[in-house]
Every structure is written in C-alpha cells, then in structure tokens.
Amino acid sequence: MTLYVIALTLIILGVMGMPLFAIILAVAMTGFYFQGIDLSVIAIEIYRLADTPLLMALPLFTLAGYIMAESRTSQRLVNLTEAFLGWVPGGLGIVSLFTCAIFTAFTGASGVTIVALGALLYPALKNTSYGKNFSLGLVTTSGSLGLLLPPSVPLVLYGIIAQQLNLGVEIKISDLFLAGLLPGLLMIVLLALWSLWSIRGRPIPRASFSGKKALASLREAFWEIPLPFFVLFGVYGGFLAISEAAAVTAIYVIVVEVFIYKEVKISQLAAIIQKSMVVCGGILLIIGVSLASTNYLIDAEIPMRLFTLIQAHVHNKYVFLILLNVLLLILGAILDIFSALVIMVPLILPVAVGYGIDPVHLGIIFLANMQIGYLTPPVGMNLFISSYRFQLPVAEIYRATIPFMLVLLLALVAITYWPDLSLVFLNR
C-alpha cells in the first residue's frame, strides 16, 4: 500500500516537472529502504560512473558536436552535398536529407540541426517546386534524421545501458554502429522518394553538375571530410576503442575549427565547453542515479516479473513488437531521448530478450521510435524547435510534418519486422 502511494506521488511530481534525476533517486531510495539496505549504496552506484570506460565517449562526442555547430561546418556540408548531389532530380530535397542526417549523427538530435542547418536549407527549399509547406516538414523531420548513424551519442548510450544489464549476450557499440547503417539509410531513401513523389508534375528542381564547383567545395571542406572516415577506420581497424575515437574526434575538431579554419576563437572555446558540459552533466547525472535504480530493479527481479506478466497476455513476439512500438512512440513524444533510454531500456530489454529479440536489433527499434517521437504531435520536441526557429504557429508545423511522420512509420515497420536489415553486417 505504502509503495503504491509513493509510486503515485512520484508520478505526479514527475508530471509536475520534478527533475528526472531526483525522481529516479527517489525510486532507488524507496526500493533500497524497503529491502533494508543502507542508502550509502546509492553513492556506490553513482561512483560506478567512474567504472565505465565507454562513458568518456559521451562528453567528448558532445563537445565535438557543439564546436562544429558553432563553426561554419553546416555551410560547408551543404555546399559539398549540393555540388555532388545537386544534379540528381529533386536534388535540393535529397541534399537536405543527407546533410541533415550526417550533421545529426555528429551533433546528436538536440535540435541544433534545425537551428543551424534548417536556417540555411529552408529559405532555399521554399523557393523551389517543393513550396513552403513541404520544405517546413522536411526541415523539421531532418532534425532527428541520422540518429541511427554512427557515431550518434544515443546509440552509444543504448550500448552502455545494455551492457550494464549483464544479459549474457555481447552488445558491442561497434556492432550497434553497423546495425544502424541500413535502417538509417532506409529512412533517408524513403523520405527522398516521398520528396520526388510530392513534386510530380511540377518542374523538377535540378542543377547541372559543375566540376569546378565540386572541386571548390571539396577544397573548402578539406579538413572536415576525413573525420567520419578516420573514426570508422580507427574503430573497425582496431586502432581505437569507441571512447578513444571520441577523444580523437574532439581534439581533431578543436584543432581544425580553432587553428585551421579559425572560426571558433580560443576565448569562445571555454564558453562552448561549459555549455556542452552542462548538457552532459545533466545526462551523466541521470545515468549515474539510474545505475542505482537499475541495480534495485534487477535485485528485485522486476524485469523478470514484468516478462511473466506480459507473457501471460502476449504470446507472440510480433504482437509484443507492435505494443512496444506504440509504447515507445508515446514515450518518445513525452520524454527526451536520454531519459527514455535510461528509464525504459533496463525494463524493456530483458523482456524483449525473453521474446527472442536480438538486443542490437532492439536498440535500433528503440531509437527509430524515439526519432519519430520527436515529430509526434502535440509535444514532439522538433515541432517546437521548428516553430520557434521559423516563427510559425505550431499547428502549421504539425500539418507540414505529418506526411513525413507517416513515411518514417513505414520505415519503422520495416525496421521492426525485418531484423536482418539491422543485423546483416553482424555475424549473428
């Protein structure tokens, strides 16, 4: 009885806007208290932040993303993709999708893609056959496109949480990176086809390919182009652990943007570090306290009980997956992606493994849902960022974005029910 009252109180406090770390702490405290365990265990669990080598990737990839967002990387990326893909029929739409996906993979779906790239792409898109409404939808959707592509931070975080659960299955971050490739590409390709379909019968915007322009854009982005390649080469060549790849990325980006392009001044660097680490601090704190609550959940065998409970009603893996998608889409709209990961993965992953779903595949399903959650009315975050950035009413953004959301839902169905799309590159 007391437990139910506490649980209800915490849920109400949560909806009232109490910081998530405090709620998770309260859950852990209540749990350990009723098990008669000294609450110092919570500090011990938080200290485990220092026992997880992979976690270093989080602040360092975030920092690299923030620095790139502050420099003119976005402009160079647009020039580059435009020069090389602009000649394709419907070019600019496709250029936008690719650029945003790559940019989001590096900067995280924090909304910075809409703010930095959207501002460049939207005015250009609007003046083509795509028109205002379509362009708005495309830019809003692109804000979370690329979440499945390496080295996206949410993918790394999923891997870290999954590893804490000791499921007896190996879950490597490098496997998650490989698994995200095709599903991420599928989303881009489907959206590109939808873009082409939407302008059928109208003059197709295309530019002619210019070797001179291509060369100029290549030269311009000379220092940034190698970045994705040496991250991938370092990791899959066995030279770098993921966390080390993050360190190399951070130092490389600092050197390139501060000393070569000189777009970020040394005096600005401190402010950027501070800004990015405040965000990271919030996330690391939630991870730390959730190590404690997860430990309690496992101790109390709650995922097992949950599995038994669900299995009594849902006998079929595919029905489970449908229900999972519905749940995650709702959560993705309400919670931000990092909180959703630390709260839901410890509960859902053991259940999913019970149904015979591969943990790597589940990670891709999870993040694909979260990506769509960003666009789900009425509270998806991208909708508000877009409304704020382009100074338009949210209702207009809803209307513009819904068709894109439907296309992504189609991709989600494929990702969920076709495991090989995610697992084809892995030896499983």
């Binding site: 910081p19 998530l20 405040v278 690391l284 991870i287």
Partner: protein
C-alpha cells in the same frame, strides 16, 4: 547604500566567484581528459607503452565532469524533466508547482548528500589509493559535494519561486 544592500551585493559577489570557479574547473577537467586520452593513444600506438594509471584517471574525470556539469545545470534548474503540466497552468500556479517540486528535489538531494558523506568517511578511514597516490575518498568526495551544492541551489530556487507566488496578481 543600506546595510542590507551591502550584504546582498556581498552575497552576489561570492556567488559570482563560485560560478567562475565552477566554470574554470569544468573547462580544466575537459582539457585534462582530452589530453590524457590522446596521450595514451599516442603512447600505445606509436611507442607501444602507456601510463598505467592514465585510464583510471580518465574514468574518474568522467565522474567529475558529470558532477560539476550537474552542479552548473542546477543554477537555473536546467535539469532534464518532463514538462507537460506547466503550460496548462496560470503563472501563479506555475510558481507554486515549481516551488513545491524544487523543495522535494532539495530534500532528495540532501538525503543523497548525507549518505554519500558516510561513504566518503568510510573510505577515508580505509585509506586506499585510486591512482598515482590519489586516495579513493578524494575521488568520491565530488559526489556529496555536488549533491550538497545541487540541494542548496534547489532550496534557493524553491524559496525564490515561493516568494513570487503572492507577487503575481491572480
């Protein structure tokens, strides 16, 4: 200038000073972690050697970055939360709700701080080193410290919002 004003500006100055210390510490920790990580990679891949306590230090730095970052995030109560309710409330009720929620956060952080102090004291008596002569208790000390600061800040936020309730005409 009245005495109260002088006190207020003194309080303000202390706060400003503490903020500078936090900000500089955060930047220093990040530069240290990048420096150490890159040094280790170079030593291993080029010279086939390494600093044997380097990896431990880097991992502890992650904890410190997280804790100091979390302290800074609590200055304006910028921690991640689910905010569905507040946009449907009047300004007056928003203040009331924030004040309440911040007070509970203060309580929870205080309890956490108390129990982490217990852990640090225990570790101090045990007296083992984490790396390169740095004792474990010192590495852990950031946890109670951060939670105390976060608790204090949420307490101040709560009081601040509470005093605003009646100033807003309903």
């Amino acid at each position: 200038m009245g005495k109260a004003d002088q006190q207020a500006s003194g309080y303000h100055r202390i706060q400003l000073f503490l903020r500078r210390v936090e900000d500089s510490l955060l930047v220093a920790l990040v530069l240290m972690i990048i420096g150490m990580a890159v040094t280790q990679i170079l030593l291993r891949n080029v010279f086939d050697t390494g600093i044997f306590w380097g990896d431990v230090m880097v991992r502890i730095l992650v904890l410190w970055i997280g804790m100091v970052g979390a302290m800074v995030a609590s200055r304006k109560g910028e921690h991640i939360s689910i905010d569905i309710l507040s946009r449907y409330l009047s300004l007056r009720y928003q203040k009331l709700v924030s004040s309440l929620v911040e007070f509970v956060t203060f309580l929870i952080c205080s309890v956490t701080a108390y129990y982490s102090v217990k852990l640090v004291i225990g570790e101090f008596e045990y007296g083992e080193n984490a790396f390169a002569g740095v004792p474990f208790w010192l590495c852990e000390a950031i946890i109670p410290f951060a939670f105390s600061v976060i608790a204090l800040r949420y307490f101040l936020l709560s009081i601040h919002n509470f005093t605003r309730i009646n100033k807003i005409a309903s």
